[in-house]
């Protein structure tokens, strides 16, 4: 299709849009709701994944040694553990370092004053990070038996795992609910856009017949309807974008329980939205345009024949 015809096709599509404005508005609204729901869940999923990633990066395994173990032995253990393929890093925490860390904790001064550099019961430890945090328990197991039994005072890692499990759980719930809701609304918008395109085609059957008689190509007859649907998608995307902004800005998540599975993520979602406001706008309008055009092309294929 030449540039000239493309311009004419777009103009015909826009004319169609205004001629059936009540149908067009219904289609724009349902596209907006669909894109809004997809947007909420997509942003939620991305934020949860990023949070999980951040927390997983902080997950580690601390092995505390009895005070009677020689420093050299701990260093040897450190070297051998560092060589394991599933271990990302190993850090030695000396008694002095442990004291420093303890003093920085938000504990009451009274408790803090019980421990001094001279009287320091804090054990030395190795802080181990795994390549895959879920494998920390496997690494921990090796310190629970054999030669280590006499050397190790305590192993700590489980507390953190709960947080990760919760997040992973939340993420899969959000994703599942998101996919189900999104599918329902994609189906709804498909039915509406398909039907709108069908009605528009039928109401213009005279014009289609005339176009055919005077030698319009198939593409020239069909594309105005797809352009029109694309416009539903773009306008729906803009509306959905505005709704997303209000939704996150005024923390309306709690008002719509179905959408706010991960209520505690609202600030992160807001930050994410603000940080990527331009890309989100582009993605949401382009996605709307694509989804609606594809939906209408089914109707066009079925109802416009040359």
């Amino acid at each position: 299709m030449s540039l000239r015809s493309l311009g004419r096709v777009i103009r015909l599509g826009l004319t169609n849009f205004w001629r059936n404005w009540w149908l067009s508005i219904a289609s724009v609204l349902v596209m907006a709701v669909t894109l809004f729901i997809i947007g909420v869940f997509a942003i939620q999923t991305v934020v949860i994944l990023k949070t999980t990633e951040g927390i997983q990066d902080k997950l580690d395994l601390s092995v505390y040694f009895n005070d009677d173990v020689a420093d050299q032995s701990i260093q040897d253990i450190r070297t051998s553990v560092a060589n394991r393929p599933d271990v990302k890093s190993v850090e030695f925490v000396s008694k002095e370092k442990a004291y420093e860390i303890f003093q920085q904790r938000p504990t009451s001064e009274k408790i803090k004053s019980l421990i001094t550099p001279e009287n320091n019961p804090l054990p030395r430890s190795l802080v181990i990070k795994a390549e895959d945090p879920s494998q920390l328990s496997v690494i921990a197991k090796t310190f629970e038996s054999g030669q280590f039994e006499q050397m190790v005072r305590r192993i700590s890692y489980q507390d953190n795992q709960n947080v990760v499990d919760t997040l992973v759980q939340t993420e899969s719930t959000v994703r599942r609910n998101g996919i189900v809701l999104a599918l329902i609304f994609i189906l709804l918008s498909f039915l509406l856009v398909y039907n709108t395109t069908r009605i528009v085609i039928l109401s213009r059957s005279d014009e289609i017949e005339i176009m055919r008689l005077v030698g319009a190509t198939e593409a020239f007859v069909r594309w105005p309807f797809i352009v029109e649907a694309g416009l539903y998608g773009v306008l729906g995307g803009l509306l959905a974008y505005g709704a997303l902004f209000l939704f996150l800005r005024y923390d309306l998540a709690s008002a719509v329980p179905l959408l706010s599975i991960a209520n505690f993520l609202a600030p992160d979602m807001q930050a994410f939205f603000i940080r990527f406001f331009a890309p989100i706008l582009i993605v949401i309008t382009m996605a709307g345009m694509l989804i609606a055009s594809i939906m209408s092309s089914f109707a066009v294929r079925k109802f416009v024949r040359l």
């Binding site: 004419r8 030698g215 198939e218």
Partner: protein, 243 residues
């Protein structure tokens, strides 16, 4: 120019595909370049089917339709638009777009065919003056008389300068005086070398034209006279004879 070879076409009457009615039964005919041919016959005789085949709206079950030595029965759907730009068609019901002016209706045929705006501005006035509607360019179809509407339709059909103009009952909705205006316009277009096929019920028109007349009945060509007269359908003729 136009050659039909053993063209047959049947339609199924009901959803039952076995019950078929034969609309065209091995029709063969040759129409030369620049000929003015009247196509007559009662409703349901196969006239409309013949015309729908010529404008490639339908394909024959059998046989071939050669237009300028090309079989249009085997045209692919993406080739159809380019074929349709080479033939002009007008109908009884004009088929004008009510929301467009006379000018826009004609320009539309060029717009969909990827003609530049400059060329459209050049060609539309010429064709409007050919059909004598230069002063009605900005009127809407609802503001025109029947004859004027048909002249707009003829202008639109001629805008691609086709070598064949097919007119399916063009005067069916017009009063006698207007009918003559339209027939005269068709003759004028014919004189410039365009092949004209005029399907009509109008006996007076056919008789006065003194041109070739092809009569169709029951899907067959029943007569084909070089300088013909309107052929009365056999049933009516039989009725008249018995009366």
């Amino acid at each position: 120019m136009i050659e039909l070879r053993d063209v047959s076409k049947s339609y199924s009457l009901t959803s039952n595909a076995k019950q078929r009615v034969l609309a065209l039964d091995r029709v063969s005919v040759v129409i030369g370049k620049g000929e003015f041919v009247s196509l007559v016959g009662p409703s349901g005789a196969g006239k409309s089917t013949l015309i729908r085949m010529l404008i490639a709206e339908e394909k024959p079950d059998q046989g071939s339709i050669l237009i300028a030595d090309r079989d249009i029965a085997v045209l692919k759907s993406r080739e159809l638009p380019y074929y349709r730009r080479k033939i002009g068609v007008v109908f009884q019901d004009f088929k004008l777009l009510p929301a467009k002016t006379v000018w826009e209706n004609i320009a539309f045929a060029l717009e969909v065919s990827d003609v530049s705006s400059g060329e459209i501005r050049e060609r539309v006035p010429k064709i409007l003056s050919l059909v004598g509607l230069s002063d009605k360019a900005d009127n809407y179809p609802s503001e025109l008389s029947g004859g004027e509407k048909q002249r707009v339709a003829i202008a639109r059909a001629m805008i691609h300068s086709p070598r064949i103009l097919i007119a399916d009952e063009p005067t069916g909705n017009l009063d006698p005086e207007t009918t003559w205006e339209i027939v005269e316009l068709l003759e004028r277009i014919g004189r410039s070398g365009t092949t004209i096929i005029l399907a009509t019920h109008n006996k007076a028109v056919v008789d006065k034209l003194k041109r070739r007349v092809i009569a169709v009945e029951h899907g067959r060509i029943v007569s084909d006279e070089k300088v013909g007269k309107y052929v009365v359908p056999s049933e009516i003729a039989a009725k008249e004879a018995s009366a």
